[in-house]
């Protein structure tokens, strides 16, 4: 809860101090209505950074708090180092130790700090802490740091790495799509050629069809003439034969039959003698 309040008061802090309503309700930069979501987010981030880290911030007197990597230096497990530094200017190196021993001695001797079971518990408790930190301290610190690193990596670093990787993948896919679009030109040329070939073949088919039709008509005319001539020829032959047959008189017929019989007699004689 404190952390969310701290983050929010960075934006609303000065406004709250003056008791007014906050001026910035939503950071939507001008002209960002038609951009992609990622571009809008980047613009919002830029605007927020301008407010948080812009020239209006007095970073000299109010520096940005940065989480320290390691905890503050201590001596003897729990006494901060800057207390020793505080004493060093006035009293030198042994000053703080002298002060500590003197303070403890005063408390004990004046019975402000009574030596009872509570005192024993102090010895026991700090002895236990000293023993535990010596035995398992380093190992436990390493284990805890590993776990913390894993959590930080999963929550803060891995999402950024994943987002970058997926953005790279999207860029690569888009470039591939652009390259594929270039290839569409070749496809179109090939299709055009294909259509031209089809047209050519259809044209040639039709040409052949035309030739066939014209030839068949010419053949018909030829046949008609042939038939006519043949018909005339046949008719003429028949007419001639009919007329000749009609012109044969009976006397001519008798004469031709006598001639035939005489020839036959002539031919039959040599057969009888053999």
């Amino acid at each position: 809860m404190l952390s969310t309040f701290a983050v929010r008061s960075g934006v609303y802090g000065s406004a709250l101090l003056r008791g007014q309503a906050p001026r910035v309700l939503a950071v939507v930069p001008i002209g960002s209505r038609h951009k992609s979501e990622a571009a809008k987010q980047a613009e919002t981030w830029e605007e927020a950074n301008k407010i948080f880290y812009g020239p209006e911030r007095d970073t000299k007197n109010f520096p940005h708090p940065v989480m320290p990597q390691e905890s503050g230096k201590v001596r003897m497990g729990f006494v901060p180092e800057n207390w020793f530094q505080f004493f060093y200017e006035k009293t030198g190196v042994t000053g703080p130790y002298f002060f500590g021993v003197g303070l403890v001695t005063t408390l004990l001797s004046k019975e402000i700090w009574v030596v009872d079971h509570g005192f024993a518990e102090v010895i026991g408790f700090f002895g236990a802490i000293w023993l535990l930190s010596n035995k398992v301290g380093a190992g436990m610190a390493k284990w805890l740091d590993n776990k913390n690193d894993l959590v930080n990596k999963e929550r803060f670093e891995q999402p950024i790495v994943d987002a970058k990787a997926s953005a790279q993948e999207i860029i690569a896919n888009n470039e591939k799509a652009i390259w594929q679009e270039d290839g569409q030109k070749f496809l179109w040329e090939a299709k055009k050629e294909n259509v031209a070939l089809q047209l050519e073949s259809v044209y040639r088919q039709r040409l052949a069809q035309v030739f066939k039709d014209v030839k068949s008509r010419l053949d018909y005319q030829l046949e008609v003439q042939n038939v006519k001539r043949r018909f005339e020829q046949t008719h003429m032959v028949n007419w001639i034969v009919d007329n000749v047959t009609k012109s044969i008189t009976p006397q001519q017929e008798q004469e031709s039959i006598k001639v035939c019989i005489a020839q036959l007699k002539k031919m039959s004689v040599p057969v009888a003698t053999a």
Binding site: D116, F119, A120, I123, L131, L144, N148
Partner: protein, 231 residues
């Protein structure tokens, strides 16, 4: 001001202000210290809290209590609460709230009673039927019902007294050894002093473990009692 072995449980604090309520109120400061967070990335000891949370969550997930609304939050919070109070009570001169029956009973009695009342209103015949476990020989039935009902009724007392007795016994033993140790500090003979210091140190480490284990047992038993809730 009389100091005896029970004075570490005394909530009369007359050093700062004569107001006993301050002892109880400031015993909860440790919860505030371990619950606050300023930075986005956690401190080095944050995985310890996650470890405790995961341990008790896995226990609750295996019980029926998960179907009761808000049970997981209550038990996980209770576990961390008891761990912090138990461990804080071991710091010298710090008041230990869990060594008082007032605290243990205030935690144990409502949890047990709420489970019992919820089960009775949900399915009273199932609760009564649970008094007679299966597979028992018939002549023992009357005695079994009595014994089961006594065992159920004594649960809040055992739950709270177990926690209170373990914590207070630990403190009392530390007090006793401490008394002998402070005596041996002012007597000749270093051997007895060293022996008692080592016993004190080792028993304190043991008490750290007992504090965590007792908190775990308290929450484990409540999840087991929730398993007997009618489904």
């Amino acid at each position: 001001m009389l100091v005896d072995i029970f004075s570490s449980f005394d909530d009369n604090n007359q050093v700062f202000m004569s107001l006993y309520m301050l002892m109880w109120a400031f015993s909860l400061v440790i919860i505030l210290i371990f619950s606050s967070s300023y930075w986005v990335t956690g401190p080095r000891w944050a995985p310890i809290i996650s470890l405790f949370k995961d341990t008790i969550s896995s226990q609750v997930f295996r019980s029926f209590g998960l179907s009761l609304g808000g049970f997981l939050n209550v038990i996980t919070g209770l576990f961390l609460f008891l761990i912090f109070l138990n461990l804080a009570g071991l710091i010298p001169y710090v008041f230990s709230p869990t060594s008082h029956l007032a605290v243990s009973l205030s935690l144990g009695l409502p949890l047990w009673l709420s489970l019992l009342i919820s089960g009775t209103f949900f399915n009273p015949s199932s609760v009564v039927a649970g008094l007679l476990p299966m597979g028992a020989p018939a002549p023992l039935n009357p005695f079994l019902v009595l014994i089961e009902s006594v065992s159920i009724l004594v649960r809040p007392i055992t739950l709270s007294v177990r926690l209170m007795a373990n914590m207070s016994a630990g403190h009392i033993v530390l007090t006793l050894i401490g008394n002998y140790m402070t005596t041996s500090l002012f007597m000749p003979g270093a051997f007895s002093m060293l022996l008692l210091i080592s016993i004190q140190v080792l028993y304190t480490i043991f008490e750290f473990g007992i504090g965590v284990i007792q908190a775990y047992i308290f929450c484990l038993l409540i999840t087991l009692y929730s398993d007997e809730h009618p489904h």
